[in-house]
Point group: none
């Protein structure tokens, strides 16, 4: 099975938006052991879309088309697929009803052109839409297949996981490719990609000869470095056993050489790691943010069930707010003592068990004589008040994002350090 | 002249890095009026690179190849070009000397494999390297041409601007094509893609016959719908005049049928729109957030210079915080009156001219008898206190993101409504 991805949209050719879909799909296909040798971008032009599809079908077994399924005049993927399949487009009554119902539910009038989305090439099957109005398509052409999904990432990823991946895996199995691939991602914060590579270099070399297990490093920007372990076995239990064994080895190497930098696995975020620790402790948290300006609170609120442990936060952007509401001593506000006072102050103001704070300089200009990238994290717990000083790289958005995840990591490590030594705090 | 971009590298297919090169090159080509109809990604495999090049040459006049020019075993672009050109590779003595001199200058021993970078297909000309060790190539094939540049963006952009763009423009002139393309993006919030398409349908149809100006719609998820206008003229002033005229027509149509939904142009964000209005008014803002949990504050702090008008915010996630610090009356906190009290409360607490608030249900569960997606925005200004009730679609992260931009849009519209009628507020 060789899968080619074709992203449709003139905006991609003009460079107006990045093609994150092909990257995401590439990652998913690789993680599932499905080969992908080519990607294409093509604009909103019927003849050229048809040419791109035919080119892809000549050199690949399956085709995932992203984009061009919307309700407007430049959404012409459906018609191009129909031409390649040599069939007419037919309006699907069920889809029409679903789209009408969506507009009724939102209390809005439906522009007629929305019904274009109900046009389906004869013989294609439909991937029901759950997050938007455009359905996806599965179009068989002899032994080959064309999948079409909307270009909106949120809708595309849902359809890929729900319908396309299972179908691809089934097709792969039916061709006699029966090995099973399983993978796990270890998520780290606080080490560089090269330091991680050096820490596991022995395993990397040992595995190169084997071929059943692979290690890859994915720099995930503001979310740290991911270490992806992939194992191929004759069946699922075999692949899982290989993966389990390798994970133990890699965790030990990383921990011995770089310390406690693995904060989660797979889709687990830093805030998920915080949430599980706070829930286990029965402890509540409040945050005071300056340079991050609400980023930390926003990440915490993003965890479902946050109300059990997150009280709230103060975005003390103006210095006066720090002085008046948090009891920070007048003077420079980018300092270790200001960070500690902010943490203690927000804990008192919002009546939480723990206070976490960040103050720093996002740039581009320096502040209080401190260069951009200078950040202090403050932490106030029943046991003690402490701070961590950081020097972060990058431009304004980078410094802010790094500050947020760094502060959460300070809290994660502190919770792990103190949990064994101290009694659980009750409100 | 139709230029195709081929990015070489297995890491692109696996989704391990984003392909920023194709996006950047696409933008540059469009800005210079050079057509580009297709992009491809291909991995580090000789036969497949050759196939990708031949496919590109079959449908385009020029080919820009990024990547695969380095010194390691998987850098095989040079050999693939030589095969397509049907010529041998020859080692270039001058390049050998340049590479040797670079290592001497850095006081480092040169690994022998670096000299692979001195191999040039017979008949190709060299683009001298100034930022790295690998030179670029210009390879003529009859009337067509293949340019090859390293995949490192910093080296690629230099070679494109210095050698490839001038050569492409010269070739374009020699074929008699001299037109210039210019484009502008209108950013909207509050209308569906289909409603926008219907609003400008007359222009869309009129332009289809003309061909000099085009309209396209880009759904940008949580940031609204973008309307892209592109004009092609004989020269830059001509293209700009066409674009200016079309923008006025489209703005009038959109405004007449859908109201004041255009909040910015090109890269202008909703928070940029807020910032410029607050700066013009000399007015300060504070926010009280529940469901958005710091998202709004974080967006505002992201604007450089925000300290001039943004005081701070309270993330009043727990109801007690709303009651104790914002003076919200005890009772259900997802309501119009709670939103208004939050806005008034945060304005008093943080001593700002304007208070903006959001309270709502992100889901997945309902709250206070209100279903997920129910959101109230509160706004407290000197002139009056008001609220807007919203019903937003999507899962938890969507509802939160839509709430944030919707609240900012409520403020934007209020600032535009009141600015003419009332005196400027001073602190």
């Amino acid at each position: 099975m060789r899968v080619e991805i074709v992203a449709v949209g003139t905006e991609l050719l003009l460079g107006q938006i990045p093609d994150t879909n092909s990257q995401w799909l590439g990652e998913q296909l690789a993680a599932n052991g499905i080969a992908s040798h080519f990607h294409q971008h093509v604009g909103d032009n019927h003849d050229r879309i048809v040419l791109a599809f035919r080119t892809a079908l000549a050199r690949s077994d399956a085709l995932i088309v992203c984009g061009g399924l919307g309700p407007t005049q430049d959404d012409i993927t459906r018609a191009a697929i129909a031409e390649v399949m040599n069939v007419p487009l037919e309006r699907d009554g069920e889809i029409v009803e679903v789209i009408r119902a969506m507009f009724v539910a939102r209390g809005r009038a439906m522009p007629e052109n929305n019904l274009l989305q109900a046009d389906v090439p004869h013989g294609a099957t439909v991937i029901a839409q759950t997050r938007g109005t455009a359905p996806g398509l599965v179009c068989a052409l002899g032994q080959k297949v064309v999948y079409a999904v909307p270009g909106v990432p949120y809708e595309m990823t849902d359809m890929f996981e729900r319908a396309i991946l299972p179908d691809l895996l089934e097709r792969q199995r039916s061709t006699g490719e029966t090995s099973v691939i399983t993978s796990r991602v270890l998520r780290t914060w606080g080490a560089s990609e090269s330091a991680l590579a050096e820490a596991v270099a022995d395993r990397f070399d040992a595995l190169a000869d084997d071929g059943r297990v692979t290690i890859a490093f994915l720099a995930s920007g503001i979310e740290g470095i991911k270490v992806r372990l992939t194992a191929r076995g004759d069946d699922a239990p075999h692949a899982s056993a290989l993966l389990y064994e390798e994970e133990a080895l890699v965790r030990r190497l990383v921990n011995d050489r770089l310390g406690d930098i693995i904060f989660g696995v797979d889709h687990e975020t830093m805030e998920d790691a915080i949430a599980s620790r706070l829930v286990a402790r029965g402890t509540t948290l409040a945050v005071a943010e300056s340079v991050t300006g609400g980023l930390i609170a926003s990440r915490l609120v993003g965890v479902a069930g946050a109300s059990a442990w997150f009280v709230g936060g103060l975005v003390s952007y103006a210095s006066e707010v720090k002085f008046d509401l948090l009891g920070v001593a007048r003077g420079p506000v980018v300092s270790a003592s200001a960070a500690e006072q902010m943490a203690t102050g927000v804990r008192a103001l919002l009546k939480s068990d723990i206070g976490l704070s960040v103050t720093g300089v996002a740039g581009p200009l320096e502040q209080d004589g401190q260069p951009a990238g200078t950040v202090f994290v403050g932490l106030s717990m029943a046991e003690r008040t402490e701070h961590v000083a950081l020097r972060l790289p990058g431009d304004r958005p980078r410094v802010r994002s790094y500050s947020a995840i760094s502060a959460l990591d300070v809290l994660r490590r502190a919770l792990d350090r103190h949990v064994a030594a101290t009694p659980v705090i009750s409100k």
